[in-house]
Subunit: 209 residues, 2 copies
């Protein structure tokens, strides 16, 4: 039985949650978009295969990567293939997309996806739901942010992912009370307006619950 790995690579750019898709230029499902994926090599674990796929597509490696769910029958009920899906969060500023003209790897807004091959919509829905859950009580956002950042920047990322606005004071209280952030003591001026305090995540490793 074939075991494939699928990776949902998510990022936030320009106030939008986006996912990396590749264009299928060959059958099956030629002409439609799909999540990047592949097959584990000999003596490679599933997580390693997912991480390798991520590096191949984006060049980044030390980011949040989590197993999502294992699907079968994604390739349209014909069986015989199992897809173990993962999701990863990357900071687009660190990404250099693979130059693979045939596949046209591109970021697509999650709110306006093209038709996807292999029922990849199911995988996407699952990924977004899990991401929103994890954001509530973990530090996974570290993987979407620069090393240091302002609380306004962090809030903007959260708002993009949840698709709604939060109250500034409540957002700050929640974040700071979780103890996952620490002030750097530095500030950043951005044109007009009072300079913002810069924060870092106390840990940039995935939290284990």
């Amino acid at each position: 039985m074939n075991v494939a790995v699928l990776v949902v690579i998510l990022t936030v750019v320009e106030g939008e949650l986006r996912v990396l898709l590749i264009h299928r230029s060959a059958e099956p499902a030629m002409g439609s978009w799909a999540l990047p994926g592949g097959f584990p090599q000999a003596r490679e674990t599933l997580a390693d295969a997912a991480a390798r796929k991520l590096v191949e597509e984006t060049g980044v490696s030390d980011v949040y990567l989590e197993q999502l769910f294992t699907f079968d029958g994604l390739d349209d009920g014909t069986q015989g293939s199992v897809a173990v899906s993962y999701f990863a969060l990357v900071d687009t500023r660190r990404v250099r997309l693979r130059d693979e003209p045939a596949w046209e790897p591109r970021w697509h807004p999650v709110q306006a996806l093209p038709p996807l091959a292999f029922n990849n919509e199911r995988v996407m829905d699952y990924a977004v739901e899990r991401l929103r859950n994890k954001l509530q009580y973990t530090n996974v956002a570290y993987s979407l942010m620069a090393q240091s950042f302002t609380l306004s920047e962090l809030q903007a990322v959260y708002e993009s992912i949840f698709g709604r606005r939060f109250d500034k004071r409540n957002f700050r209280r929640r974040m700071l009370s979780q103890g996952i952030l620490k002030p750097t003591g530095k500030t950043m001026a951005r044109g007009a307006g009072r300079p913002a305090e810069l924060y870092e995540f106390t840990s940039r490793a995935p939290m284990v619950l």
Copy 2:
């Protein structure tokens, strides 16, 4: 690459959370206990394979069954095999264990497990954690109870699974306010003491969140 299905079959008997294990009478891991599992047949989905395994071992079919996690390297790092794990909840009163003397299928208290083959401890931990989570906000317990039951019986099951006692009044409030229970209007006397109201789950289908 081999894909196996593993099933963590849980129940509550005599105030204890227990899991169904089989005894390995052949290599690998001869002599130790393990979770039941097997390989999907041709044209069988993973969930179907897990459900079939469950029926083979216990005879029950319409119970709660959920995918847990996909492990690799369970058979000790040698790779080449992936195990998709599921967990199921059964009411022991409806179970007839398979008469397979070679495997000695038996219920083992989760709090005092024998050494398990293939790192099955990891799978167990995962299953128990998920079960506790699901109990909080879904009706999965329907799968552990008779058709109708008293709130005291339900509370006893919850206490067994969480390994601690709950306050009677708070427990009842929580359960009834979730809207997953309905009174049958009947009562049940059990020796001395005031007869208890009997309740049913409003739905005995898995909740989809």
